[in-house]
Each structure stands twice: as C-alpha cells, then as structure tokens.
C-alpha cells in the first residue's frame, strides 16, 4: 500500500461523498434557531432547580443561625451546611458553563488538554462531594432539621447518634472507594453505574491525567529530547 497513491481513490470517494451527504436547509435553519434559543437561555434546568431549592435552604439556615448563634453545637452544623450549600451550585454552574463556553476552534492539542483538565476537575468535585457528603452535609442537616423544625436536641435525645454517625461517615469514605475499585470495570452492562464506580475509584481521573501527559508528549517532536519517543503511534 502506498498512501500517496491511495490519495486518488480517497479523493474520488470524497467527490461521491459530496452528493451522499444531504442537507435540508429549511430543517437545519429551524434546528439552528432552536439551538440559538437554548444557548441564550444560559440558565439551564439544572441551574434553575439548584436556585429554586437552594434559596429557601439558605434563608432557613441564616434564620437558624441567627436564633442559635450562641449555641456552638447548633451554629457549627448550620455553618457547615451553609459552607456546602452556597459554593456547590456555584462550582457546578461554573464547571458546566466553562465547558459550554470553550472555544472548540482552537488547535486540537489545546482544546483536548483543556477538556481533559476540565474532566479531571469535574470528576474530583463529584467524587469528594459524594464521599464527604455524609460527614459534611447529612449529619449537620439532621441536627439542624430536628432542632429547627421539631425543636428536638439530638445531642440530648439520642446520645448514640452523633458519634456513630460521624464514625460511619468517615469509615464510609475508604469503604466506598474500596467497593468502587472492586466493581470498576466489572459491571459493563450499565454505563451509568460504570461511570459512577469509575469516578469514585478515581479511574476516570487517572485516565484524564494520562491523556494530558500523552498530549504533552505528542507536542514534542519525536527524538528531539527523548520524551516524544515514549508516545506510541498507535
């Protein structure tokens, strides 16, 4: 096979392809209009949902803090919840829009590196939000909920709740990572579950970082300074 000779056949196929890809301009125009309308609506349904559910929670937490500011055992959980509730939607929103606003017209190595970095950041955020959620969010939520809504002091009523929950939350972290590592790559019939276990096990993050390294090696001329040669051509 001579690639230069095959170019003629490639070009001939290209000419036939010109006819084979059909374009319905009217339909495409409607699609572009709809896409434009969606792009203008910068706040997607996820953002709206997070705002609608987040604002009442923040208002309630501020009210709760004001009422119990002198009682550290209630003020601290409320502060932890605020520290979680405010930045999480902002971080999520920024990550989503960073991807949507990315200029795909930049050179391929530049865009792919940014995408891989973005993916690693997104996966890290998800992983730690999920793993720390039990300790940083769930336990303070239960304490604040019972005190604020039912007037129940969980520290007094259920002596065995706080410490075991905290221990359980901390132990949950290595347990979840361990189980995910065991299951990662084994449950191929469910793409969503696979993505979930890969993210928790850190497999996807490692792959993204490896891809960034591969791109860096690809950017070096092979044989120029050694590293470029490590990059495999296939």
């Amino acid at each position: 096979m001579n690639l230069d000779l095959l170019k003629a056949e490639w070009d001939a196929r290209d000419q036939r392809l010109e006819q084979a890809v059909r374009m319905n301009t009217q339909m495409l125009r409607l699609s572009l209009l709809e896409q434009h309308r969606r792009d203008i609506a910068k706040w997607g349904w996820t953002d709206k949902y997070e705002i609608i559910t987040g604002i009442p929670v923040i208002v309630y937490l501020i009210w709760f803090l004001g009422k119990h500011i002198s009682e550290w055992q209630f003020a601290l959980p409320a502060l932890a919840l605020l520290a979680w509730t405010i930045p999480m939607p902002i971080l999520n929103h920024r990550l989503r829009h960073a991807l949507q606003d990315m200029d795909f017209g930049q050179p391929i190595t530049v865009v792919q590196k940014r995408l891989a970095e973005h993916k690693a950041r997104r996966l890290n955020l998800f992983k730690w939000a999920f793993l720390l959620g039990q300790v940083v969010w769930f336990i303070p939520f239960i304490i604040v909920l019972f005190k604020g809504v039912f007037g129940v002091d969980l520290y007094l009523k259920t002596e065995n709740f706080i410490l075991p929950s905290l221990m359980g939350g901390i132990l949950f972290i290595p347990f979840a990572i361990g189980v995910s590592r065991l299951l990662s790559g084994k449950l191929t019939h469910s793409a969503r579950f696979q993505a979930f276990t890969d993210a928790l096990a850190g497999k996807d993050i490692i792959q993204s970082r490896q891809f960034i390294t591969r791109i860096a090696q690809f950017e070096e001329t092979p044989g120029e300074c050694g590293n470029g040669d490590k990059y495999q051509d296939s």
């Binding site: 095959l6 290209d14 059909r22 795909f104 190595t109």
Partner: protein, 165 residues
C-alpha cells in the same frame, strides 16, 4: 445574515463532517449523533469565527475536537442536542457509500481506526491533502513534529497493510 453565511459554508464542506465522524465512530446511530454535535458546536462557535482563517481549517478543528471528545466521552454532560428526526443533515446515503467501497479503502479505514485519536487526526488531514504547515496549525504542533510523525505513521500503516495481505 450570519445564518445564511454559515449554511452556505456548511453546504460547501459538509462531507468533511462525515469523514471525521466515520473515522472516530463506527456505529451508524452514534455517528448521526456525532455529526449533529459537530454542527451544533460549529454554529455555537461561528460568532467567534475569524474570517481570515479558512472556513475548512476552522471546521476541521471543531469537527475533530468534537469527535475526539465524543470518542473519549468528555462532552457527554453538555450534549443537549435536538431530537434526530428534526435534524437537517442526512448521512444515510454516505453510510451506504462507505460500506460499498473497494478493499483497499476498507483496509485503509480499518488501519486508520486502529490508530489512537491524535494520530488518526494527523492521517486524516494528510489524506485530505493538507500540507505539514497546515496540519501543524490545526493540531497545535510544529511542522517538524508533524513531518516526523507522518513518516512514522505512513511506515506503520504500510507495514500493517502488508501484514494484512
């Protein structure tokens, strides 16, 4: 006006989208999704298109960036595209054309699909007649790097082709 210009340019270079999609996506159903993603991204980026750059060069960058991301499933979360039956680019005939090609072309496509995503981009641009300088600009590499890599890829493909026969 922007829309008219975009559609005109898209009509002139639409085959490019199929070629890239075919190289990065073997399943016909996914390929339709991929082509739709490419058009969506092209339209989204068209406002920042620098008229001094050739449309086909810019289009190649976007098509390949979308295809590689699709291949690596990195843009899964932003894929908010329209239902397929409402889309205006029909590639069914192109699928038929590619499935009824010569043995040489079929083998070449198979060997290209065995390359990793970055080298695959290099060989596609080479086959489309781009010079090393143009390939370098699309890829974000220097021309010397492209020349060296092209020589290696050509040798590798030729060896594999000979082994296959």
């Amino acid at each position: 006006m922007d829309e008219e210009l975009f559609l005109q340019q898209l009509a002139s270079h639409k085959r490019l989208l199929y070629k890239v999609a075919y190289s990065y996506c073997r399943h016909a159903e996914d390929r339709r999704d991929l082509v739709q993603d490419m058009v969506t991204q092209l339209w989204r980026s068209f406002r920042s298109f620098d008229q001094r750059v050739q449309f086909s060069t810019w289009m190649y960058r976007i098509a390949m960036n979308v295809a590689i991301s699709h291949y690596r499933s990195e843009t899964r979360q932003v894929r908010d595209t329209l239902p397929l039956e409402e889309f205006g680019l029909d590639i069914a005939e192109a699928d038929q054309l590619y499935s009824a090609q010569s043995d040489n072309m079929r083998t070449l496509d198979k060997l290209i699909s065995e390359l990793d995503e970055l080298n695959r981009a290099l060989i596609l641009l080479f086959m489309d007649g781009y010079s090393n300088d143009e390939i370098a600009s699309i890829m974000g590499l220097n021309a010397g790097n492209v020349a060296t890599r092209m020589t290696r890829i050509k040798q590798k493909l030729q060896t594999r082709f000979a082994e296959g026969n």
